[in-house]
């Protein structure tokens, strides 16, 4: 029997959900939300980024509920986001105020303030570590103590100048007027084309990590005309403030979020001089691949005249959203009896007509 039975859908759904819930626990293992929060930071960061909701504990909860599926976890968190009223917009975040935990430049060896490698998997050897299979709680505590004893007093609270500001001072980069117009809020307004840059950046930053990466990659290897050099990748905590209702110069501090910020340098030729333009990427948490890919696409979309889909604003912005893409693809599982019946009727009629003539 098809799954549009005249009666019975209710019971079928109930049984299906029960089975799903059982599958999550049938191994008899308890997964604490706190364990996910602390041991799976990369996943938590990606889910927050794609959900455009900075809520580490809720993201960890969504991951537990989704049995680790990114797609499902983002879906759950985005839906939760819809229940939250939008109370305030923060003041413009100044990333020069970031408390930096990692900061590298692929363009210059000597950057003012120096490079901070921080924590990265970039230089690990990706070999399976069998020791992790038998790691105990005691092992962890011992390693924590050992690490803390060998570390000098933390310099974590430092801020660093931006690499691009240094280049501006030297006259190598143009200085632009700050655009202080209120940003286009893509969660409150439907995207229009051509999209304002603020809408474009918002869409890119909450795009599916894999999709943003794929399209950035496509541009890099020939299906686009942007191949940048990474000027600066920085990861750290940025402070957030909201405006005081009466005193404009005395905003309220409301906390901080961790972000990855990328400024890519893209050589362009205008007339007979070689210039540089910036591709910009910023996302929640530490997700450098996504932020870099975003900076490539930002630059691509600034040059829509190129004959490649990665430079086509509608193509890029309308297809990178995790919730929208996975939702519409999966709707194909829903019954299509009526539309198919309708098409079938036409196919038969046309065939009949052709046979008669």
């Amino acid at each position: 029997m098809g799954y549009v039975a005249v009666k019975g859908g209710t019971n079928a759904i109930k049984a299906s959900i029960e089975q799903l819930q059982y599958n999550r626990i049938k191994g008899g293992q308890l997964l604490e939300v706190q364990t996910i929060l602390h041991a799976m930071k990369a996943l938590v960061d990606q889910v927050m980024s794609e959900s455009s909701l900075y809520a580490p504990e809720l993201a960890a909860l969504a991951i537990k509920q989704a049995e680790g599926s990114m797609e499902e976890a983002v879906f759950i968190l985005r839906a939760h986001r819809s229940t939250l009223p939008r109370l305030h917009y923060t003041e413009t975040v100044e990333t020069s105020q970031m408390r930096v935990s990692r900061r590298i430049s692929a363009s210059f060896k000597d950057i003012p303030g120096g490079q901070i490698l921080g924590a990265t998997t970039d230089y690990t050897h990706r070999l399976l570590d069998p020791e992790l299979q038998t790691e105990t709680h005691e092992d962890i505590l011992e390693k924590i103590t050992k690490y803390q004893q060998t570390q000098p007093e933390s310099e974590n609270a430092r801020t660093y100048p931006k690499v691009v500001d240094y280049l501006r001072e030297q006259g190598l980069f143009p200085t632009y007027q700050h655009d202080n117009s209120a940003p286009f809020d893509i969660t409150k307004q439907s995207l229009t084309f051509p999209a304002p840059r603020s809408a474009r950046l918002q869409t890119l930053t909450r795009g599916q990590t894999g999709a943003v990466t794929s399209l950035g990659y496509a541009s890099l290897r020939g299906y686009g005309q942007v191949h940048p050099t990474v000027g600066e990748v920085r990861v750290g905590q940025v402070p957030l403030t909201i405006a005081h209702p009466h005193y404009a110069d005395d905003p309220y501090y409301i906390g901080e979020v961790e972000v990855t910020e990328v400024e890519s340098f893209v050589p362009t030729t205008s007339g007979d001089t070689l210039d540089f333009e910036i591709g910009y990427g910023l996302c929640y948490g530490q997700n450098e691949t996504k932020a870099i890919a975003m900076s490539i696409l930002d630059q691509c979309l600034d040059h829509p005249e190129a004959p490649f889909p990665t430079h086509d604003e509608e193509f890029v912005l309308l297809h990178i959203d995790s919730v929208e893409a996975s939702g519409f693809i999966s709707h194909l599982k829903l019954p299509h009896y009526v539309t198919f019946q309708s098409k079938l009727d036409r196919a038969r009629e046309v065939r009949k007509e052709q046979e008669q003539s």
């Binding site: 799954y3 549009v4 039975a5 005249v6 009666k7 019975g8 859908g9 209710t10 079928a12 759904i13 809720l58 909860l61 879906f75 759950i76 985005r78 839906a79 986001r81 819809s82 229940t83 939250l84 009223p85 939008r86 969660t187 409150k188 307004q189 439907s190 995207l191 229009t192 084309f193 051509p194 509608e314 309308l318 919730v323 929208e324 996975s326 939702g327 519409f328 693809i329 999966s330 709707h331 829903l334 019954p335 299509h336 009896y337 009526v338 539309t339 019946q341 309708s342 098409k343 079938l344 009727d345 036409r346 009629e349 046309v350 007509e353 052709q354 003539s357």
Partner: protein, 288 residues
Amino acid sequence: MNTEHHFAFFDEGSKKEIRRALLKAVAIPGFQVPFSSREMPIARGWGTGGLQITLSLIGKTDSLKVIDQGSDESVNAVSIKRLVQQTTGVEVTDATAEATLIQSRHRIPEVPLTADQLLVLQVPTPEPLRDVEASEAKTRVLHSEEDYSGAWLQLFEQVMKYGRTATGADHPVFVHNRYVMAPSPIPRFDNAKLHQSEALILFGAGREKKIYAVPPYTDVRSLAFEDYPFTTESFDGKCCKLCGADDVFLDEIYDEVTGVTDYQCNDTSYCIEQLNAQTSQKGEVEHA
């Protein structure tokens, strides 16, 4: 973090925003109003546009009916009903005449709707010109300039190729002599029910972030040529094997064992009502 859900899921600000888009849609029949489509706890493409309209309009005294492919018991209809019920506590009903709010995928009920009812249709692809123009920016210009040559050309090409128009469901309509509109994938059979409807009909496309409407007593004509008139799916000589109805949209049901093809009402609640009426007339219960 055990908190109760807000009534009808959304915060009040979101509901107000959606209702504002709805008012504009009603004021400009057939025009696609962009709205700030929210992410929902059901998947994009599974009826989130309809659901957002339903949740922004539903009140505590409403009676809700949800249909998917003509059936109240189809899995997605059940799922949507459960969500609305969980967050509002409203009554649900299968009986079309008793419902004040009806959300539907792919069908307009067989029982004629009244002025006291709202019909919300879920729309996967709201842009009737999408097949002829991939760009959203360009289709908006075509609508504003009332340039529908692409839509006509498409039908003309079908006539040239197949000797007739070959659209399936979602045959485009002309609303209030101004906008060409996708009626959502209702079968051609249901297009006529849009014309001069007593009930307000609202269309929600969640993924595409559009809301549009056919207000009551509005002219809605299916696109066709004088010499190649619009035709609906044909069920000539066929009737429902359960209730005998021959003037409704039928499902084709093939029996693998006997090799026989039967027909049944696609609108299951209509079929059950017909059967109940027949049984009470006879004053006895027949077992099928």
